[in-house]
């Protein structure tokens, strides 16, 4: 295929106008030693129907229709078609970052509404216009806390997503930040007030990676007692049934926003949410949309507090983020509006009720126990009598994505499998899952 409109005659004419004889002359001033005198060795070109054939062929090698019980930040919630329909408007899809507000009010206002709704569900003052994902949002929160406190130690719950802890490790060392891990006891963080400090931040998951509800006060009091910022990685789909992090004293709340408007997408593109208190607004990473008026007094939206950003502040910027996940934020905004207060509550209520139902069913299977006593919301760890990796493989043959094995991240749970439930799972699927698991375990 060819997406350049130029005909040979066009090329001739244009070359003539700029006084060149041959198309290669465009590159005559490049050092001959580095110019390549051969075509790139690549498959293709393909016609459009052949491209479709290729993508279908790759796709056929995926089991994309497994009934999903995997979570860990990415969930299979119901996504109404209207969200894609609206999000895929070409005016959103093919616009750049809204540098020219006169012709960008659409993107700007939707992102303003996104910020407003994210701040609302978090119970905090302000939110930014999106980050890459939940895990990098945790890293940005760490950087905010370090900048805010001038400290270089960060306390991290072992219950925080292992992926987030890995990313923190990747970015902390280069900047000389020490990460101190606090253990879990009975599925909840056992904070050690005597750990090396003082910390810039106290970071935990709510619910934590095992799906267990942490004690908010334990973390936020600890943080505030030491003058640190409390940072919570929350599950947005539980915010209809759990109190807001803001109301619980969290200073920076971050989240993996995928379940809001975005398909699982093999993990990307998704969207990171970050909300905080007004006093931290000048340390917020990335885009921030503000409301103002234009010359005629007309309401208008613009990117604001730009001096935080890399293109203005360069090496002193609050973050290096530039391109973010705007289109995914648009999808999240549309989905949040579709859900409204009642819908978000219903998602939480049904997911939790169905998770309990499944946990009960699984707990009755021979050799299977729910790993911890502590209350969970919609995701929970079970201990299996058989190697979870083998169980997941066998369950896939039965049409289920059974969950995420825990042993790799938590050796303390050798037979552990993390099972997630959403409102989308029907009772038939829950019962089918339990029955299939029973068979698989029986087969050993």
């Amino acid at each position: 295929m060819d997406f350049t409109p130029h005909t040979e005659a066009d090329v001739e004419r244009m070359l003539g106008a700029i006084g060149l004889a041959d198309i290669d002359d465009l590159f005559a001033h490049l050092p001959a030693t580095v110019r390549i005198d051969r075509p790139l060795r690549l498959p293709g070109p393909l016609s459009e129907p052949e491209v479709i054939e290729m993508v279908d062929a790759y796709g056929a090698k995926n089991r994309s229709r497994l009934v999903c019980f995997a979570g860990g930040g990415i969930y299979d919630h119901y996504l109404p078609p209207v969200v894609r329909t609206l999000t895929m408007r070409p005016e959103f899809v093919t616009a750049y970052t809204p540098y020219q507000p006169e012709v960008s009010q659409g993107v700007l206002q939707v992102l303003f509404e996104f910020q407003s709704m994210v701040a609302a569900i978090m119970g905090l003052d302000v939110a930014n216009a999106s980050l890459y994902d939940g895990v990098t949002a945790v890293v940005e929160a760490m950087n905010m806390a370090v900048a805010a406190t001038g400290r270089d130690v960060v306390w991290v719950s072992r219950g925080l997503s292992p992926r987030a802890r890995e990313a923190l490790a990747t970015f902390a060392s280069a900047r000389g930040i020490d990460l101190v891990e606090h253990p879990m006891v009975g599925g909840r963080t056992a904070w050690d007030a005597a750990a090396a400090g003082p910390p810039a931040a106290v970071i935990f998951g709510q619910p934590n990676y095992l799906g267990i509800i942490e004690d908010y006060a334990a973390a936020t009091d600890l943080a505030h007692g030491t003058g640190a910022l409390s940072v919570a990685l929350v599950d947005p789909m539980t915010l209809g049934v759990l109190r807001t992090p803001g109301s619980a004293g969290v200073d920076i709340a971050v989240a993996e926003g995928q379940p809001l408007g975005n398909p699982r997408s093999f993990g990307g593109p998704v969207v990171g949410l970050l909300a905080t208190k007004l006093d931290q607004v000048r340390r917020i990473p990335g885009r921030l949309i503000g409301r103002t008026v234009d010359g005629d007094g007309q309401t208008a939206y613009v990117m604001t507090l730009r001096t935080r950003e890399q293109d203005i502040r360069r090496e002193k910027a609050s973050s290096n983020i530039c391109t973010n996940q705007s289109l995914n934020a648009v999808a999240a905004a549309v989905h949040l509006a579709w859900l409204g207060p009642g819908g978000l509550a219903e998602v939480g209520r049904q997911s939790a009720a169905k998770a309990r139902y499944l946990a009960k069913r699984l707990g009755q299977l021979p050799g299977v126990t729910v790993a911890v006593e502590a209350p969970f919301v919609r995701e929970f760890p079970v201990l299996l009598p058989v190697d979870p990796a083998r169980v997941v493989a066998a369950m896939a043959d039965r049409g289920f994505l059974a969950g995420l094995p825990l042993a790799g991240d938590y050796p303390e749970f050798p037979g552990g499998l993390l099972v997630a439930v959403t409102e989308r799972r029907t009772r038939r699927q829950l019962d089918g899952f339990a029955d299939a698991l029973k068979e698989v375990i029986a087969d050993g």
């Binding site: 244009m14 408007r89 303003f112 939110a127 994902d133 209809g240 607004v281 995914n328």
Partner: protein, 499 residues
């Protein structure tokens, strides 16, 4: 628009009213959501940390939500509406077939935690895309974990750091031309290095003598964009790389915009060790109003062990699995990066093939050279070197003579049905207008751009005040940005302040 205004008064087709927010449209009791009845026992949950009240979200029905978002979309310019010569942003047309691929249910509905045996297709897509990217850049291996260019930069710089650390060195400096994109210095700081500016010479290229003088064994590496941000090719690149390599520094290629060099030159052949590129600029992912993107990092063989992980690898049994590179810097994204963007890029690269990618470079440069040629009459082109895929024009002379600034010209261009170019970047050129027509615009469109710019140069003399006021047709005009920062209103719950 006439008052009282009906709901569609914010659609530019019939009005210029402000669109209400969802909160303005909210009425208690309205709803769009719809779920089946709970089909399992639904006893009270009595959770700890339970919510005391419902989330403070707006309440709107589907009808109002749909019209609201559609009206907002109409208030936004986009490549699919018209030309968007925004320099350094490569706002080219992206084929719809790539959108189709990104919506393919066999990929869209995959959970990232699915074991490798059930997602072989996805892993093969990653391997195939890696191969293509390595052939294009002349590198050995590439990671698609970085979700955007800036993320690719910090990833590359952490690799640079790991390289030196393994050799027991604590180097502190990374050299960056003064024309560099803002993400470069910001990433350098995040990587724990100090950004040191290398000056440009009168040709708009790196001053190689100044560079040579700066080289010492505290230099971890050099970070370069080539073609640089004024659209010129750094002709001394080979020598520069040698200078840096002489102190065992690494040379980093900011390949956010590869358009100009596809099939022409390869960073690897120029001596670069690390290359990030922006799939969302060069490889068929539309910009989405600010993302998502994908900023893969490609490296030479000796740096492959440091790449973020896990990486997809072909195993002995012929299947593809996840493997952690031996000296990996670790994880830079929660999952596997922006996978669907990589899928788009692969479809694009396959559709074009080697010949098609070369054609992209040729026509991107041809369009830019042709436009620069047509503009040179009325605008200053500050440098004498032939441009690549984009170029910088200066409105300095116009400003001095008429008081009309680059900003006025950019805004006035909107009234001509063309998006504004990038303004005031790079910082080394006064009243910079950075213009990138891209290869997907026809000669007629490029000529329309030239005609519009020429018209504006005349208008600057005949009716400067009209340009100070531009744009004239858009629903809002010159919003007060200072006020936005002074009276901060970033959510609808914050009180609108007034002057």
């Amino acid at each position: 628009m006439a008052d009282p205004a009906g709901p569609a008064a914010s659609s530019p087709l019939v009005g210029a009213a402000a669109e209400p927010t969802l909160r303005d449209l909210s009425v208690a009791g309205r709803r769009a959501w719809s779920f089946p009845e709970l089909d399992v026992p639904g006893a009270a949950l009595d959770l700890p940390e339970a919510a005391a009240e419902l989330p403070a979200l707006p309440e709107v029905g589907e009808r109002d939500l749909v019209a609201h978002i559609n009206r907002l979309a109409q208030r936004n310019f986009a490549v699919d509406i018209g030309a968007y010569p925004l320099g350094s942003c490569t706002m080219k047309y992206n084929p719809k077939i790539c959108d189709w691929a990104a919506e393919h249910p066999d990929f869209r509905d995959l959970h990232p935690g699915t074991p490798a045996h059930s997602v072989q297709g996805a892993l093969e897509v990653l391997l195939a895309a890696e191969e293509v990217l390595c052939e294009i850049t002349g590198m050995e291996r590439a990671s698609f974990q970085p979700p955007a260019g800036a993320s690719g930069e910090i990833t590359g710089l952490l690799i640079m750091r790991a390289y030196h650390q393994e050799r027991g060195r604590q180097r502190t400096k990374v050299l960056i031309p003064d024309s560099a994109h803002g993400t470069n210095p910001a990433s350098v700081s995040l990587a724990g290095y100090r950004a040191v500016q290398v000056p440009s010479n009168e040709h708009g290229l790196v001053d190689i003598d100044a560079l040579e003088a700066m080289i010492d064994d505290d230099v971890a590496g050099l970070m370069l964009t080539n073609p640089n941000t004024v659209g010129l090719f750094e002709e001394d690149i080979v020598q520069m790389a040698e200078l840096v390599h002489a102190v065992d520094g690494l040379v980093y290629y900011d390949g956010a915009n590869l358009n100009a060099i596809l099939g022409v030159v390869r960073p690897g052949d120029m001596g670069f060790d690390i290359v990030h590129s922006n799939l969302h600029k060069t490889f068929a992912t539309p910009h989405g109003g600010g993302g998502p993107g994908s900023g893969p990092v490609a490296v030479t063989g000796r740096l492959a062990p440091y790449l973020p992980g896990p990486m997809p690898e072909r195993l002995d049994d012929g299947s593809v699995g996840w493997v952690m590179p031996s000296a990996s810097i670790g994880r830079v994204h929660g999952n596997h990066g922006n996978f669907l963007v990589v899928l788009r890029a692969l479809t694009y690269m396959r559709a074009l093939g080697g010949t098609g990618l070369r054609r992209v470079a040729e026509r991107a440069v041809l369009n830019a050279r042709y436009l620069a040629h047509m503009l040179s009459a009325a605008y200053d082109i500050p440098y004498d070197k032939p441009c690549m895929h984009e170029f910088v024009a200066s409105a300095k002379r116009i400003k001095n003579e008429t008081g009309v600034r680059a900003m006025d010209l950019a805004k006035a261009l909107l009234d001509h049905g063309i998006h504004a170019p990038t303004m005031y970047f790079p910082l080394i050129v006064d009243e910079a207008l950075m213009i990138e027509p891209t290869e997907t615009e026809s000669p007629e469109t490029v000529e329309a751009m030239a005609a519009a710019f020429a018209d504006l140069a005349v208008a600057a003399r005949t009716s400067p005040e009209e340009l100070h006021e531009a744009p004239h047709r858009t629903p809002v005009r010159r919003p007060d940005e200072a006020r936005a920062a002074r009276h901060l209103v970033v959510t609808w719950s914050m009180e609108d302040g007034d002057d």
